[in-house]
């Protein structure tokens, strides 16, 4: 874990951008490296704490969740929803063809 900040180089940043589905401007990568390095310094402050016996807190209150009755409560609105898209026809949202590599 201590090697994290040293490893936040161009390759790592491009990998994270890929995970995030963001196309980074190559000229801005040095700036990204600097920003990330600053942020890493900030967030690494918690690494020193011994938290072995502490249970992670996923949510402010662990109250019983609300369950919905099994009823149809939504009316069909296909036209309304399809119209929200920049590229759709009467039935579908349209995306570029996904070409699987053969072999």
């Amino acid at each position: 874990m201590n090697s994290m900040s040293a490893d936040l180089n161009q390759d790592r940043i491009l990998h994270i951008a890929k995970l995030s589905r963001l196309q980074l401007d190559p000229e801005k990568i040095p700036l990204y490296e600097k920003r990330f390095s600053d942020i890493l310094k900030l967030i690494q402050k918690i690494s020193a704490l011994d938290t072995q016996k502490i249970k992670p807190m996923k949510h402010p209150f662990e109250t019983p969740g609300f369950l919905r009755e099994d009823e149809i409560s939504e009316t069909p609105q296909k036209e309304v929803y399809l119209k929200l898209s920049a590229h759709s026809d009467e039935d579908f949202f349209i995306v570029p063809k996904v070409i699987e590599e053969q072999g």
Binding site: R21, L22, I46, F66, L67, Q77
Partner: protein, 481 residues
């Protein structure tokens, strides 16, 4: 601009109608200045709502908020009206439904004046990260109003509108309330429904009111609060009458906690004196001030900047341009569609946080950062729980300094992050906090917050109201520019 309370009296006694009030608001906006506080104005809707309200007032069937104007932070979905989150990604997104909070306030008879400017997707501390331009602080137009509910705060401070809605994930209601010299409430997590409130960090986001006074915030919370079956994280707990007993004296033996070490470490030297005054004021009102320690508070910033970006990267994964939102033209592959739509649609701070989030959730980062942060979050929450065994409320500043010049922190995001040092631990613990103005420095407002135990909003509002009966900071208005 008057308070909601006084406007209620004026409407009920026929001094003017809701329609006249709404027209006057738009006329003032036309003349300017508007501080760039609004992204969209909704006069057709507001006037229709005002006319309906005037009918109810004529029939004497009005409620507490009937006919009163409201502005909604532009991440609350409004049916038929665009909801942009101050982002190019949603620049033309017209929601087909209303957020529960919007619906509730509309049912209560409020008139939606417009959608308020904000930091993009609620990520920012100075309202400098908006696709629609920065918001100006009415106290000094070259300075920031705070963020991310900067438009909501500036509009109230500038007298454009008496009240607005905002959201607080790491301080985004309380910090701009402080920097603009107004009152804002972050309720307990789950007190106000998140359905229709476009998500930034799901375990931290809270919707709440911004207004001139604690009493006005109480009026709004009364209608905003409550369980919503469409949000299973909203709490199934009765909503008390927040306005009842607001005027009562503080209960005898009330203990207020002060965190001197934490406060002194992070508060700007030149404003420490004004905050001492706040404690003296509460002593004068009969409270006992007790110094307490919350040993893990300093780690709040690190925990927040792991968990919030992690949750944001997840919540913003849906923005791919396919079903709604910005879509790049002529993408040849699916990957190109995703990567270019998102790169074009999101601003720099949003992209930065998505990437931090992806990093801390990645297989290399998960245990060391995300899991560790969740554990330290529990330590912070436990610090507060222990504190509330000794005291009834905790008071500390809402911001470490006065409003900075616009653009000053754009080259140094960490500086902006530090602006939330006092506010974000409260979000991590899910607790409520009321922010109130308490003075000025170099002509710019200062604010403090009263933090309560879970669902103690009634107590906080009473404390705030009592404080505002013996001080006049909430009555101050910026000079007309």
């Amino acid at each position: 601009m008057e308070t909601l309370k006084n406007l209620r009296i004026a409407l009920d006694t026929g001094q003017f109608s809701s329609e006249e009030l709404v027209r006057q608001i738009y006329s003032q906006l036309d003349k300017g200045p508007d501080y760039n506080a609004f992204i969209s104005l909704t006069p057709e809707l507001a006037l229709a709502q005002a006319r309906a309200a005037d009918q109810r007032i004529a029939n004497k069937t009005q409620g507490l908020l009937t006919g009163l104007p409201i502005g909604h932070k532009d991440l609350f979905c409004t049916q038929g009206i665009r909801t942009t989150c101050a982002s190019k990604m949603l620049e033309n997104f017209i929601s087909p439904y209303n957020a529960t909070l919007v619906e509730k306030l509309a049912q209560a008879g409020m008139c939606t004046i417009g959608k308020m400017n904000m930091d993009e997707f609620a990520m920012g501390s100075f309202n400098e990260y908006s696709y629609f331009g920065p918001v100006n602080n009415p106290w000094d137009s070259k300075r920031a109003p705070g963020g991310s509910s900067g438009g909501s705060a500036a509009a109230v401070a500038g007298g454009l509108i008496p009240a607005t809605t905002g959201t607080d994930t790491g301080g985004s209601i309380r910090q701009p309330a402080a920097l603009c010299g107004i009152t804002g409430l972050k309720p307990t997590y789950g007190r106000v429904s998140r359905f229709g409130m476009i998500a930034f960090a799901s375990s931290l986001d809270c919707g709440g009111p911004l207004a001139r006074t604690a009493e006005d915030c109480a009026m709004l919370l009364q209608e905003m609060a409550g369980f919503d079956p469409r949000d299973s994280t909203s709490i199934q707990k009765d909503v008390p009458n927040y306005l009842l007993h607001l005027d009562h004296e503080l209960p005898k033996g009330l203990k207020i906690g002060r965190i001197p070490a934490f406060q002194n470490r992070h508060l700007s030297q030149h404003i420490q004196g004004q905050f001492d005054q706040v404690f003296r004021q509460f002593e004068h009102l009969g409270a006992e001030i007790i110094d307490i320690e919350l040993p893990h508070l300093d780690l709040g910033l690190s925990v927040y900047y792991i968990l919030a970006p992690a949750e944001a990267s997840s919540n913003l994964a849906r923005f791919d341009g396919i079903r709604y939102g910005h879509r790049v033209k002529n993408a040849k592959t699916l990957e190109e569609l995703y990567e270019r739509s998102r790169q074009e649609g999101f601003g720099e701070e949003v992209q930065r946080r998505i990437m931090i989030g992806s990093f801390v959730l990645s297989s290399q980062g998960y245990d060391a950062y995300y899991l560790q942060a969740q554990k330290v979050r529990r330590l912070i929450a436990e610090d507060f729980a222990k504190a509330f065994k000794q005291v009834d409320a905790i008071i500390c500043p809402s911001a470490p300094d006065i409003a900075p010049p616009i653009g000053e922190s754009k080259d140094d995001p960490i500086k902006a992050y530090l602006s939330d040092i006092f506010t974000l631990p409260i979000n991590l613990a899910g607790l409520p906090s009321l922010a109130l103005p308490c003075g000025f420095h170099q002509g710019l407002p200062l604010g403090f917050q009263i933090i309560g135990n879970a669902f103690d909003e009634k107590k906080l509002l009473q404390l705030g109201h009592q404080y505002q009966q013996v001080t006049d900071f909430h009555l101050a208005r910026p000079k007309e520019s």
